[in-house]
């Protein structure tokens, strides 16, 4: 792998995705350097989710290129899986596996690197307890939760377990599609701080956001409107006028 220090963790060039009637993404360029934390802004329907789906490999663009750590999508199934294993997504609906314990859920993030024997053993015995406990502690959770079924957790605990699972995957690219949308402001702030704290080089973070008041910890902001990049620059340059343009004149969210 020729990934030097300057290689972008994620690079989109001229990415287009067509949708019904109008394009969902049009000629999008975006690059994330190691250690960079980028917030994706835009109104509903601006193309944030589509952009994230292209970034995590779920959606192949109609035109343009996607490079992960300088590499185009691998042709072989095995190579592709190795590539996907380095992309971690925090889903808005968390996508925990309800019938399994916290520890089994955390270890599910290792399936890409494990073979069948360990994958099956994980359903029988507690595996890699130390690493799982460390992942929970990193999210300010009590390691005693490891043996609990995820159904027994509170909403906030589930969020943190999903984030612990993300860390356990050890990805270089962290993606999150409005992970804070349905949370109360205090919890949202805490979780965002944890995410930002773990997005350090060589890792990079791309997170779509509905609330410009939470931009403080980010290095850069990217504004999408009608599938096009309207703004790409330091957070400090995000002005009221820009936000008004992005959200079509209405303030995106009234501040609590």
């Amino acid at each position: 792998m020729a990934a030097g220090p300057a290689t972008a963790v994620l690079a989109l060039r001229g990415v287009c995705v067509s949708g019904r009637g109008r394009p969902r993404l049009e000629d999008v360029d975006l690059s994330l350097a190691p250690g960079e934390r980028v917030a994706l802004l835009g109104a509903s329907g601006a193309g944030k989710s589509t952009l994230l789906a292209v970034a995590n490999g779920l959606l192949a663009p109609a035109a343009g290129t996607v490079l992960w750590e300088g590499q185009a999508p691998a042709r072989s199934r095995r190579g592709r899986r190795r590539q996907q294993a380095r992309i971690g997504t925090l889903w808005q609906d968390l996508r925990l596996i309800e019938v399994l314990t916290v520890q089994q859920n955390l270890n599910a993030a290792r399936l890409a690197r494990w073979g069948w024997p360990r994958a099956l053993l994980n359903l029988l015995l507690p595996l890699d307890t130390d690493a799982c406990a460390a992942a929970l502690r990193a999210m300010d959770l009590d390691p005693a939760l490891l043996e609990q079924p995820v159904t027994a957790l509170s909403g906030g605990q589930r969020q943190r377990v999903a984030m612990a699972r993300l860390l356990r995957q050890e990805p270089t690219l962290l993606l999150a599609d409005e992970p804070l949308a349905s949370l109360d402001p205090r919890l949202a702030g805490e979780l965002l701080a944890l995410l930002l704290a773990h997005a350090v080089a060589p890792r990079a973070l791309l997170l779509s956001l509905h609330r410009p008041d939470l931009l403080d910890g980010f290095d850069r902001a990217v504004g999408l409107k009608h599938g096009q990049v309207l703004f790409d620059g330091p957070v400090a340059q995000v002005s009221e006028a820009l936000l008004a343009d992005l959200y079509g004149g209405t303030p995106p969210v009234e501040k609590p």
């Binding site: 380095r86 996508r95 596996i97 359903l123």
Partner: protein, 514 residues
């Protein structure tokens, strides 16, 4: 150390380990050529018009027997179901005791497989179309009655009490309060029973009760594989059309269309259902005419030889422990094969899109192909016995369970599987962790129910030799040993009732633990 749900689902497949050891010594040199030409005939079925005409006629008879038996079982089941409902008796008389009594009594016809019913009736009234119809209607009717009364007694009774308090007479109040609420459940279960009736009618044919099953067996025994496959493909077309039609009606009647803007009124749809039910009566009469069913002939009983005074010494001398043990072993092997192989095969083919369609076809063949014919086919290359019989029975039930698993997997939420695949897990592990996790418990619960069905069904592979009660029963029947036969049926029924109780408990445990 407690296995997690998705792992539990795969554990029954461990039965493959002992089978891998036990199976090779059972292979005799014999008929690999026959198996080869059988497989080859699948793609070169006979298209001779004479053969096709005769097969179509047989198919018509089988479908007619299935329809009549099913319609009869619905009528019987609705009546008996109401009679064994605690709610109904409590409303009519104030006491639920008669319901309990009738419920216990109905366990007996339910515990006896339709094949045994068919063979007994055959001895009693001789070969006539009504035998197969009755053989299906009796046990199916008792099954429908049980499901119906369970549904009835699980309904909330507040509406009923309100009507009664307002002075409505008991029968009218029951019909108004419980009838409409019951209809979807009855239709859903009734549709499933029609699919079972088609399989049963084919099976009864294999044992000489007429229709396509008889043709299939004769062509297999005379090694006319190309004609056999013509019949099989025809049957497959009818079965798939029936299953498709039933699931279409189920969607139309039970699940409101998600993209329908102007939703049709509930009343309109119930009218449609009642019309369909009402159309069954003239249709049944017509089919009955066509088949030449003569109800009066059912009452001309043949004198039964040697029914007086049983020979208890001979009955006691039967090797009971071996018979019961063989039956239980056969059931356990077949059930483990069916329950364990369905998820395993789905996992194996997961990365290949089209292979799933192949599995779908294989399972459809398993469902429609009667187990005794599989057993006969296996006997070309395997020694007779419990293992050979369990392969035949397992294959058939794999078809039933596999379809169920595939359908519920397709209907389940794909989010978790997608998330895992997106994180680089292979398609197999993503399927196991992401999708099977949520399905495992309901699937195993259904598997427990199926094991009970398999125990009842084990009689149908009795002709694969020394398989326990089933083979002994067929033997006693052909030697007209009535006293032995009755004793065997009684033991079979007892075993089935115990099995039913155990599988009920297992089912409740699986479903409760979610």
């Amino acid at each position: 150390m407690k296995p997690a749900a998705p792992l539990l689902m795969l554990l029954p497949a461990l039965v493959l380990v002992p089978l891998a050891v036990l199976l090779p010594p059972l292979v005799h040199g014999g008929g690999w050529e026959l198996i080869g030409s059988f497989a080859l005939a699948a793609v070169t079925p006979s298209l001779d018009p004479v053969v096709l005409a005769s097969l179509l006629k047989g198919l018509g008879v089988t479908a007619g027997m299935a329809l009549l038996g099913w319609a009869g079982s619905l009528v019987l089941g609705l009546l008996l179901g109401a009679c064994s409902s605690r709610t109904v008796w409590r409303t009519l008389t104030g006491s639920a005791l008669p319901a309990e009594l009738i419920r216990r009594l109905l366990a007996l016809p339910r515990a006896i497989h339709e094949l045994i019913w068919g063979l007994l009736l055959l001895q009693l009234v001789g070969l006539q179309p009504a035998v197969a119809v009755l053989a299906i209607a009796l046990p199916f009717g008792a099954l429908v009655a049980r499901v119906l009364s369970d549904l009835l007694d699980a309904l909330p009774t507040t509406g009923l009490e309100a009507l009664r308090a307002a002075g409505a007479p008991a029968p009218a109040a029951l019909l108004t309060a419980l009838g409409p609420a019951l209809l979807p459940g009855v239709l859903s279960y009734g549709g499933y029973r029609l699919e079972c009736a088609l399989r049963s009618a084919t099976l009864l044919g294999v044992f000489g009760l007429g229709g396509l099953g008889t043709d299939l067996k004769l062509t297999l025994q005379s090694l006319e594989f190309r004609e056999l496959w013509s019949g099989l493909w025809l049957l497959l077309a009818v079965m798939l059309a029936l299953e498709g039609g039933i699931s279409l009606l189920r969607r139309r009647w039970l699940v409101p269309g998600r993209f329908v803007l102007a939703r049709r009124g509930v009343g309109e749809r119930s009218r449609e259902m009642l019309l369909a039910l009402a159309a069954l009566l003239p249709l049944s009469v017509l089919v009955g005419r066509g088949l030449g069913v003569d109800p009066a002939a059912l009452f001309q009983w043949q004198p039964l030889p040697g029914l007086g005074g049983g020979d208890w010494a001979t009955i006691a001398a039967l090797p009971w422990p071996r018979l019961v043990g063989g039956t239980l072993l056969l059931t356990a092997l077949a059930a483990s094969l069916a329950v364990g192989l369905a998820p395993l095969l789905l996992l194996v083919v997961a990365p290949v899109g089209w292979a799933r369609q192949g599995l779908r076809l294989l399972w459809a063949l398993g469902r429609l192909w009667p187990p005794p014919l599989t057993a006969l086919l296996l006997l070309f290359v395997l020694e007779p016995g419990v293992i050979t019989a369990s392969l035949a029975l397992g294959f058939h039930n794999l078809g039933v369970l596999g379809r169920l698993l595939l359908e519920s997997a397709d209907a389940a939420d794909p989010a978790a599987e997608e998330a895992l695949a997106c994180g680089g897990s292979g398609p197999r592990l993503a399927l196991l962790y992401g999708r099977f996790s949520a399905l495992a418990r309901p699937y195993l619960a259904y598997g427990a129910y199926r094991a009970d069905v398999i125990l009842r069904e084990s009689v149908v592979v009795g002709l694969a030799g020394a398989t326990g009660l089933g083979s002994q029963l067929l033997e006693s029947l052909s030697s007209f040993a009535w006293d032995q036969l009755l004793a065997l049926v009684a033991v079979y029924a007892l075993l089935t009732l115990v099995g039913e109780d155990l599988s009920d408990r297992a089912r409740h445990r699986w479903l409760r633990a979610t």
